[in-house]
Amino acid sequence: MKNRKFELPFHIVKRDTMPLWKSLAVRVAAIVISLLLCSVLSVLLINKSPLVFFETMFKAVFSRDILIWQFAKDTAVLLCIALAITPAFRMRFWNIGAEGQTLIGALAAVTVAFYLGESLPNGILLIVMFAAAVLAGGLWGFLPAVFKAKWNANETLFTLMMNYVAMELVNFCISVWVQSGSGVLTPLSVGHLPTVLNSYFLLIAIVLVITVIIHIYLRQTKQGYEISVVGESENTARYVGIEVNKVIIRTMIISGAICGIAGFLIVGALDHTVSAESTVGGLGFIAIMVSWLAKFNPLAMIGTSAFITFLRRGTKNLAIRAAFPDIVVGTVLFFIIGCEFFINYKIKFRKANTTDKGGKA
C-alpha cells in the first residue's frame, strides 16, 4: 500500500535577521495587543470601561510623588535581583534560585541585627549585616555551582530546592525567636539604613551603582569575557584554556552575593524583619524575565524592570482578585515571548498541489 503523507497547509521557515526597527515594532505591537487584551479582561471582571484600566494604571503609579518614589524603589529591588542572576544566565547556568539566595541574605542580615543589635553601634552593625548577607547569598550560589562543576548535578533543580531550604530556615529561625508562636517577627528597631531624602533614595542609588559595576564587569573585564565564552560553548572555553569549573563557581558566588545584597537592602531599608512568604514574595522568579527581556544587558534591565514593576503596581488597584497583577504580567510576557517566534521564523502557507519555493517569477 502506498503511504499518503499528510501535509500541513503551512510550514515554518527561519527568517533572515529582521531589521532592528522592524523587530522592535513587532515587540511593541505585542505589548500593545496584550495590554488591550488585559483591559478587555478587566472589563469582564469589574464591568467598567477599558479606559478605566489604563487610567487606573497610570494613576496608581504616577499620580503622586510618594507613589513615584515607591515605583522607583520597587523597580530598584527587582533590578537588583535581576542583575544578580544575569552573570549566571549569560553563562547558560539556569539559576532559578534567586528567591532563596535573596531570602537567605535577608535572614542573615536580620540574624545579625537580632543578636548584635544591642551591642554594636548602628554603622558597624550595618556593615556586619551587609557582610553576613553577602556571605549567605554567596554560599547559596556556591553550593549548586560546586555540585554542577564536580558532578554535573542539574542546576535548575538544585537552585530551585535551595529556595525551599531557605524558606524553611526562615520559618525555623522565627519559631525559635518568636516564643509566642505567632510566626511573625516584629520589625527590629536596629539596623536601619540611614534616611537620605527619604527611606527609598539610598536603596535606589546603591542599586544604580551595582548596575554600572555589573555592566562594566560583564563588558569590560576578562572575567566577564570568560563568562560569555563559557556560555557560548564550554568546549571552546576549555580549548582556549579557560578553567570552566572555576568560572562556574566564581560566577555563581557573585550571583548569590548580589542577591544577598538585595536581601540586605530589603531588610535594612524597608522591612526590618524577615518572612518566608513576604520578604521576597516571588521577585526571584520575576527577575528571570526581567533579565531575559533585556537580553541579559544590565543597562536595558533598568527599562525592563521598570516596565514589569509598572504593570504590577498599576494593576494592584483595580479591586480585582489579588492575583490580577500576576495575570497581567503573565499575559504580557506570553505575548512578548510569543512574538519572538514571529521575529525568528515565518509561516508559509502552501498553495494546493504546488510546492512553494519561496521565489518569485
Binding site: 524597608l270 524583619t273 494592584k316 479591586a319 489579588a322
Partner: protein
C-alpha cells in the same frame, strides 16, 4: 410586543434603583472613605469573611462603591505600610488591616498620619502604645468555638450510641495555623465545648505553620484522620481540611463561614466572627466625632460571634436545641468557657495563670487572668491570650 413591555419594565426598574441609590447617598457623610487592607483575597475564607462584613456594613450605612477601597493581597511587610500610605493619599478617613503581622506596619503609618484612624484586627499593641489613632479589635470567638465544640461532642455521642465507635476511641483532630494564643485559645475552647457533652473525648492538633496553605492543610487533615481522628475542625484559612473531610466522609466543624456548599455530607456547623458590627461602630464613632476604643471586643451579644446554620444532614439530632440552650447560658454569664474547674494542666488543677497580655520582645507573662476560678479571656485586651496546653489535647508538632 412582549419585548417592548419587558424593556419598559426594565427601564422603570433601573430608574427606580438609581433613585434609591441617589437618595441613600444623601443620608450619609459623602466624603467618608474607608480603606481595607487584606492579606489575601476572596479565595481565603478569612479574608472573604472581612470582605463580606464590609459589604454588609456598606449596605447598612448606605455607603457608595467608591467610599470603600480594598487593597487585596498585601503581605505582612513594608508593603502594608505603603498600602496604608497610598490609602491616606486617596483620602481615607479610617484604614483597617486584617492580619496579625500587619500590626507594626500599621503602627508606623499611624504615627506618621495622626489625622487618620488606623484599626487593626487581631493585634495586641494598641493598649500599650496608647496612640489616639491606633486601635485593635477582636471578638470573643472562643464562645463561638465552644458552641461549635458542643455540636462536635453531640455528633461523637451519636457515633458512640450507634455503636460506630467506642467511647475510648472518641478522638477529634484539629488543623491549626501557628502555635500561638489565638489558635491555642480557639482549639482549647472547641475541645472544652465537646468535652462538656462528651467527657471521654480527646484531641490531636497538627500545625501547618502558615495561615493559608491548602496542601499543608490537606496533608494535616489526612494525617489526623489516618491517626484515628473521627471528627475534624480547623483554624486555617483555605478549604484544605473541609475538602479532605468530604472526600473521606469524616464530619467537619468549620470556621469563618459555612462550607456546606462544598461539603454537603460532612459539614456540621461553623463559627465565625461577624465584623459587620465593628465596621458600623467605627463609622458611627468617626462621623459623630467620638473616639474609637483602643481595644474593642465583640461578643455574642454585639452580634460579632455567630454560628452558621446547622447542617441537619450531618449533625446529630437535637443539636440546634442544645446549641440554643448553651448559647443562652453563655450570654447570661451562667457558663464560662474557660471555667478552670473543667480542665487540668499536667494533671494539676489550675488556680492561677499569668498570661502575656502586654506585648514585649521577651514574651514575659505579666497579668493574672484567673479570677474566682475562671480564666477570663479577652478581658484584659481584645486579642486572645489563653496559651496554656491543657490535658486531653496532644500537639503532634
Amino acid at each position: 410586543m412582549f419585548k417592548k413591555i419587558l424593556s419598559i419594565c426594565l427601564a422603570v426598574v433601573m430608574i427606580a434603583s438609581l433613585c434609591a441609590v441617589m437618595t441613600s447617598c444623601g443620608e450619609t457623610k459623602d466624603d467618608f472613605k474607608l480603606g481595607v487592607i487584606l492579606l489575601h483575597d476572596e479565595a481565603s475564607t478569612y479574608d472573604l469573611n472581612f470582605i463580606e462584613a464590609v459589604e454588609r456594613a456598606k449596605t447598612e450605612l448606605g455607603l457608595t462603591e467608591d467610599q470603600v477601597i480594598y487593597k487585596k493581597g498585601i503581605p505582612e511587610s513594608n508593603a502594608c505600610y505603603e498600602a496604608a500610605v497610598e490609602l491616606v493619599g486617596m483620602g481615607c478617613d479610617i484604614i483597617f488591616a486584617d492580619s496579625f503581622g500587619h500590626e507594626e506596619f500599621m503602627l508606623k503609618a499611624a504615627k506618621e498620619f495622626t489625622d487618620v484612624e488606623f484599626c487593626h484586627a487581631t493585634g495586641t499593641m494598641a493598649h500599650t502604645e496608647k496612640l489616639d489613632n491606633f486601635h485593635n479589635a477582636f471578638a470573643s470567638i472562643y464562645e463561638g468555638r465552644f458552641l461549635a465544640g458542643v455540636a462536635a461532642g453531640l455528633k461523637i455521642n451519636e457515633m458512640i450510641n450507634s455503636g460506630k465507635i467506642t467511647a475510648d476511641k472518641a478522638k477529634m483532630g484539629y488543623v491549626g495555623a501557628h502555635p500561638y494564643a489565638e489558635v491555642i485559645s480557639g482549639y482549647t475552647s472547641f475541645y472544652l465545648g465537646a468535652k462538656s457533652v462528651c467527657p471521654t473525648v480527646t484531641m490531636d492538633v497538627q500545625f501547618t505553620g502558615s495561615w493559608y496553605d491548602e496542601i499543608k492543610e490537606k496533608d494535616a487533615a489526612t494525617a489526623l484522620i489516618n491517626n484515628g481522628c473521627i471528627l475534624i475542625s480547623q483554624h486555617a484559612d483555605s478549604m484544605g481540611a473541609p475538602t479532605v473531610c468530604e472526600e473521606k466522609n469524616v464530619p467537619n466543624v468549620s470556621y469563618n463561614g459555612s462550607t456546606v456548599a462544598s461539603c454537603p455530607n460532612t459539614f456540621i456547623v461553623s463559627s465565625k466572627i461577624d465584623w459587620t458590627p465593628y465596621f458600623v461602630y467605627i463609622y458611627n464613632q468617626f462621623t459623630k466625632g467620638e473616639a474609637i476604643a483602643a481595644d474593642w471586643t465583640g461578643t455574642i451579644a454585639t452580634g460579632s460571634v455567630v454560628l452558621s446554620e446547622v447542617n441537619t444532614k450531618a449533625a446529630a439530632a437535637g443539636t440546634v436545641e442544645k446549641l440554643d440552650e448553651v448559647k443562652a447560658k453563655l450570654t447570661a454569664g451562667e457558663l464560662h468557657v474557660f471555667d478552670a474547674s473543667t480542665f487540668t494542666i499536667g494533671g494539676n488543677a489550675v488556680t492561677s495563670y499569668k498570661a502575656d497580655v502586654d506585648t514585649d520582645s521577651a514574651f514575659t507573662p505579666d497579668t493574672e487572668v484567673i479570677e474566682g476560678g475562671v480564666f477570663y479571656e479577652s478581658k484584659f485586651r481584645s486579642a486572645p491570650y489563653f496559651d496554656a496546653r491543657i490535658d486531653g489535647i496532644t500537639c503532634l508538632n
